[in-house]
Subunit: 421 residues, 2 copies
């Protein structure tokens, strides 16, 4: 989790460092020009690291949560390396017929301007409720393009990433069109649900003549300030979820997440999966069965061979009966590849919809993964889990979409200019 890297450092120093770093980082980027900044971004190093950490936890002690501002402009879009906010709404849009490259450019110019203003805590240019804009609450707006957007936007000179297409069919999938695919994705996240609601509305108003809403998925995590910083999220099964996650601003994160070359350098690949979790069935499983299914304890998320959450699992360890302590079918074992490049960055949210009459819960995970290459990093892991993963008994993917996230832009530019400019 992104918070993991910080607990040891004293707070004022850390904030000073981060804000100082952010300003220096962006100043440097601006000085070399946006293009170069984007190229720099693909490279690990002090500048990239400062950038990735810049937007973690902007509201410090004694400040209002609502006053936190995450910089919108920069070599990468915000909302990826950003410490996950408490609320996120994902909206997928279908482009209207006849919207061509010029239309998409106008659309992205409009949306970029809206997002830049709203994330600063200012009203959008045609904001109909300007009084609602003054609580940014670490708002980020992240834009991502589906295959059809890139097809309409591209010229012969631009190659869409080969992986920009629906994922291969998995045996466990029960996909519904209502939760899948989309031409343009807006990920709107903040620590205040009201801020998210207002921003989504302002952005959608400007998409109206270009697109229609395909699906909307709101998600939540623990409220900001609810738990100690650095606590790994639990999902609605009660499991510690996301212990092994490359944390920004490490070199590991930079290398796994950012695209290095081509029109999307500085961007990333985004997989969104809606995973229904059958809590009612899960509740019939005893505690030991639940721990076996994941390979971690429920109490603190330690591997069944360890004592602490971050202990390395010992896959060779056997119990008295001679069976592996961490079972072959456990999620922990199945999700780990021997190939260390088969990893990605998770930034998931929970969902909890209204149950129907005889249901107790209609809940699950809004799984969001970022990686430079979806085919090389995400697909092999998902194939392993599709083959065998005890957790599949209680989880069902019901939605799936793949997007390319273009890089960020400098002030005066717009998101998508690399293919639309």
């Amino acid at each position: 989790m992104p918070g993991d890297q910080s607990p040891g450092r004293p707070r004022p120093t850390r904030r000073q460092l981060l804000f100082g770093g952010a300003v220096a980082g962006f100043g440097a980027a601006a000085a070399v020009g946006a293009d170069q900044a984007i190229r720099l971004a693909g490279r690990p190093g002090p500048a990239g690291a400062a950038d990735a950490a810049a937007d973690a936890s902007p509201a410090g002690d004694g400040e209002l949560t609502g006053s936190g501002v995450v910089p919108f402009y920069g070599p990468h879009q915000a909302g990826i390396a950003t410490l996950p906010q408490a609320h996120a709404t994902l909206v997928a849009l279908d482009l209207r017929d006849g919207i061509n490259r010029d239309g998409l450019r106008r659309l992205m110019q409009l949306l970029t301007d809206d997002a830049a203003r709203l994330t600063r805590g200012e009203p959008a240019l045609a904001d109909s409720e300007p009084e609602l804009a003054h609580v940014p609450a670490s708002l980020t707006v992240t834009f991502a393009f589906g295959p059809e957007f890139v097809r309409r936007a591209s010229t012969a000179a631009v190659q869409a990433p080969a992986w920009l297409r629906p994922l291969p069919a998995f045996g466990i999938d029960r996909l519904e069109a209502a939760w899948s695919d989309g031409d343009l994705l807006l990920q709107v996240a903040a620590d205040d649900p009201f801020t998210v609601a207002h921003a989504v509305r302002m952005l959608l108003k400007d998409t109206r003549s270009f697109a229609t809403v395909r699906w909307t998925q709101p998600g939540f995590r623990r409220a900001r300030g609810s738990e100690a910083p650095g606590t790994t999220m639990r999902n609605l099964f009660g499991q510690v979820d996301g212990t092994v996650n490359p944390a920004p601003p490490t070199l590991d994160f930079e290398q796994l997440v950012w695209i290095r070359e081509g029109a999307f350098a500085g961007g990333t690949g985004m997989v969104v999966r809606r995973i229904r979790m059958d809590l009612d069935k899960w509740d019939r499983l005893d505690r030991s069965g639940r721990e076996q299914s994941v390979g971690r304890t429920l109490a603190n998320g330690a591997p069944l061979t360890g004592a602490e959450e971050r202990d390395e699992p010992d896959f060779a360890a056997k119990n008295a009966a001679g069976f592996p302590v961490i079972a072959e079918f456990s999620h922990l074992r199945r999700a780990r590849s021997e190939n260390t490049s088969e990893r990605f960055f998770r930034r998931a949210y929970n969902y909890d919809d209204a149950p129907s009459r005889e249901q107790i819960s209609n809940s699950g995970l809004l799984f969001i993964a970022f990686q430079a290459d979806v085919d090389a990093q995400f697909v092999p892991i998902q194939q392993r889990l599709d083959e065998l993963d005890l957790l599949n008994e209680w989880t069902t993917p019901i939605g799936s979409a793949v997007f390319v996230v273009p890089p960020g832009c400098a002030e005066g530019g717009y998101v998508g200019e690399g293919i639309l400019g």
Copy 2:
């Protein structure tokens, strides 16, 4: 708004006072026995006042939002005088056929036990995800009974309040059964959406053999700590909403809200209305038109005859053309009765559901009002607004329900014991 009474006072003193008061108040209640405490509760005075304020803002400076605990036991149920938390989910249940008075007693004993534990940050007795229970985040669980619950629960000795029935039909209503009525209401509120999700699930599990879900309505306000304490909420129209609201722990609040006599003394009447707000139409109205419709400025909520939010409106003031500055059709004028007993306590939430393809927003207000007598306090005001209120152009009630909230209970007792015991 409940926060209004506090801004002037220094924080540590206030917290000390509140916690001290709460403990003393409940100690006193326990000493005289639950019955007497409930009778006391109907009476305004130091004990009642301490109780009403006790659960406001339990997590102070430097504490985690998640660690806030609102006392469950007491003469009144929590979640009414409690400073509104950021998130609330209302669940209305239909009782299954054949659940009689004994069944209802068992149900309320189970639910009381669950609520008492969960609000302390402890797992419910049969908690299937105990690790999710440790972040109370000022959780409150409030139980309210619909007409059918009281009919099945009552003996000849108990009179249901005369107002415990659907509201009279209003001309503006476009009620949908899916958002209306219900036999048993759970209002589950906390400053952390995850806490609400877990508590709702645990409670619903224990209702399973007694009832089915009729409707579920989640709502939100600004995140805790997002704005300065004492800021009046804005609704999704951008209006300051709830300036004139009897604030706990005042005598005014006590007198308007709590039932004084009979089996429900210490309880209150609860009106839940789902009010769709047509934001798309609202956006076509100019700023002046919006201010006229309410009678207040958008900038700070001041009456159009004043400068500050809390200035008294001057209904006699005329503009240069000789028309009233605060128009006859304005919400501010129509919602105010000359009869000062025609008032109630509002504790509303916003909702923002997924829009359909050509919609921008599907949003509104989860209007919640508490008053001792629904017929005497709520209905006359609603009739005035039904006759004439310019805001009706943009708002439509699509759900409506009336419940009686029984009083709280002491440790060892259960909510509803006044009619089920």
